[in-house]
């Protein structure tokens, strides 16, 4: 009974301390990206590892910088619409709408109700498309590959709808300043209804695959937790902000496009970890479906562009070819651009990735003097050097996946 132990507790502690001393200084530099599947584009991370733990993480961006703001200063407002497709290229329709709204805000131009309803449809379909991809690749980043197949199948159906509406699957360029390029095609709303009826069972399927999936939950819960204070301080917006418990949705709090007429809920997270961000996006898709149903039920008749904005919106082709006045109007707008008064305006839309803002400064005429694009992904990534240290290396993929960023709008 009275056996003596040669190694006392104190010794153990001291030896462990010595061992730790020995291990120090063996940090490893790891370069992730700019071309790497988990970085979802061309993001580069300079990480410093202590064993498996990340001690430092510096994001390096700019690999996709195209100088969109400089280009915007050298072309008319309508010519810039295709460039907005390439900001958040997973939700081009929503970008088109946000840009048109910003310029219209400066011109104090109100578009007709039908146009607004069409734009709401565009925004919400874009949100579904973006969130489906966001959830799909997030699952893939966490090792659940199957989900991606489900979400991509649904996105394919959406692309067919986009193609029918805009003529392009991916780079839609659908809005013009003062309206949209064309009215919705015959029977299209019915096909949208078919799509949203089909997407809900798929969401349930995804729910079954992920929400209580032990591996997925273990890999995401408590990982990448962003506190409410941090989320605000780093300028996060959209789902990433709401997952941290901040109830801020511009559709509710700064209603535009008549969002105040639609009944929908804004999901808000509690902990702000990766799992919360997943749950939030999944719920937002359901809410978007709910909004789309209401828009389809209540879509008013009327014009799809502001008819009295004769110096801003170029009339449809059939009018240009039959009326002299419309022809002159078309010629003036095509050559000089939509005439926007001097001044400045800032408009943000609640896009799938967060608040996409356009700050337009005009000196009059058809070309912006300065156009600043505020990309939500830019801010989502700026928090990485604070968020990632302390996590395991394998958590990087999960954190990146959960932030749902896109480099097109980050680098602009």
């Amino acid at each position: 009974m009275a056996t003596t132990n040669e190694i006392s507790i104190g010794d153990l502690g001291a030896r462990a301390g010595e061992a730790e001393e020995e291990l120090k200084g063996e940090s490893m530099a790891l370069n992730i990206g700019p071309s790497h599947p988990t970085t979802h584009g061309v993001l580069r991370l300079l990480a410093e590892l202590d064993g498996d733990i990340i001690t430092k993480c510096e994001p390096v961006i700019g690999y996709l910088h195209r100088g969109d703001e400089k280009i915007a200063e050298n072309m008319t407002y309508n010519q810039f619409v295709p460039y907005t497709d390439r900001l958040d290229y997973l939700a081009p329709l929503a970008n088109n709408v946000a840009f048109a709204m910003a310029v219209e805000k400066l011109a104090a131009l109100e578009v007709p109700e039908r146009c607004q309803a069409i734009r709401v449809l565009c925004c919400e379909l874009a949100r579904i498309s973006s969130h489906l991809l966001g959830i799909g690749v997030f699952g893939m980043d966490a090792g659940a590959w199957t989900v991606f197949m489900y979400t991509f199948t649904e996105r394919e159906k959406l692309y067919t709808l986009f193609e029918e509406l805009t003529g392009a699957r991916f780079t839609t360029s659908y809005t013009r300043i003062g309206g949209v390029a064309r009215d919705i095609p015959e029977g299209w709303l019915g096909r949208v209804t078919d799509f949203i009826n089909g997407v809900l069972p798929v969401l349930d399927e995804i729910d079954k695959l992920l929400t209580r999936n032990r591996i997925f939950v273990d890999r995401t819960q408590g990982i990448g937790t962003i506190s409410r204070e941090d989320a605000i301080a780093y300028g996060l917006t959209g789902p990433n902000l709401r997952a941290s418990g901040v109830d801020l949705d511009l559709r509710k709090d700064k209603p535009y496009l008549g969002y105040e007429n639609y009944d929908f809920d804004v999901p808000v997270g509690t902990t702000g970890d990766c799992y919360d961000r997943y749950l939030l996006r999944a719920e937002e898709v359901r809410q978007s479906v709910c909004i789309i149903r209401q828009v389809i039920d209540t879509i008013p008749d009327g014009s799809f562009y502001a008819e009295d904005a004769k110096r801003i919106f170029s009339p449809p082709k059939e009018k240009v070819l039959t009326s002299m006045e419309a022809l002159i109007q078309n010629f003036m707008i095509t050559t000089e651009g939509p005439q926007i008064p001097a001044g400045e305006a800032y408009f943000e839309a609640e896009n799938p990735k967060g608040a996409l803002g356009f700050y337009v400064v005009s000196k009059g005429g058809g070309v912006p003097y300065r156009l600043k694009i505020r990309g939500p992904s830019f801010c989502s990534l700026s928090i990485l050097d604070k968020l990632v240290p302390g996590h395991y290396m394998t958590d990087i993929t999960v954190i990146l996946g959960s932030l749902d960023f896109v480099m097109g709008e980050c680098d602009r």
Binding site: N74, D230, K372, F378, S382
Partner: protein
Amino acid sequence: MSQADFASLKERFAYLTERDSADHLSVNCPAKHLLEFCTSLRDELGYDLLLDVTAIDWDVQTSPRFTGIYHILSTTHHNYIRIASDCLEDAQPSLPSLAGIFPAANWHERETYDMMGIRYEGHPDLKRILMWEDYPYHPLRKEFPLAGIEVPFPAADVAESANAKVLPAPMMGGPFVSPSGGTMREIEPQAKDESWTEKEEQH
């Protein structure tokens, strides 16, 4: 934390002036008071979400040439405010950094420094963010041409072995226009480099 209108702000911060705005509350704030004003906005008036930091270049001959622009939103009362602050120096513009009170400003200010060349005093790590570290120009300045300017390739070893350079973009036939104003001929969308023809391209 109610919504601040300009009159009540002016009462507290005498140095503010109102700024023409097509949308929300918009103020001019002298650069030396910027930090103090933004701290009060965040702590006392609830403007806590810094959305955007940018700058405008009012062209080479204008003075003050650069104006820093800030957009802040409140997460409690959901109002925007725009703050404009002129940079005193035209040749070496600078503004106080807000990175100490809004961490979000860190990257935004790096971007504005990169694109406009405005130095943010007190910024923890003011370096380029979109262009590479040794890039010699600030591309969003008005005197910088759209096509770009020839500069050495960023990686010196590659540049030497492959004789690589960063060349201006060929501006043939693109949709680029000259700025608004002037005669019809001048404001029509046109290619900037008119020397390009299809015939030459085929050679």
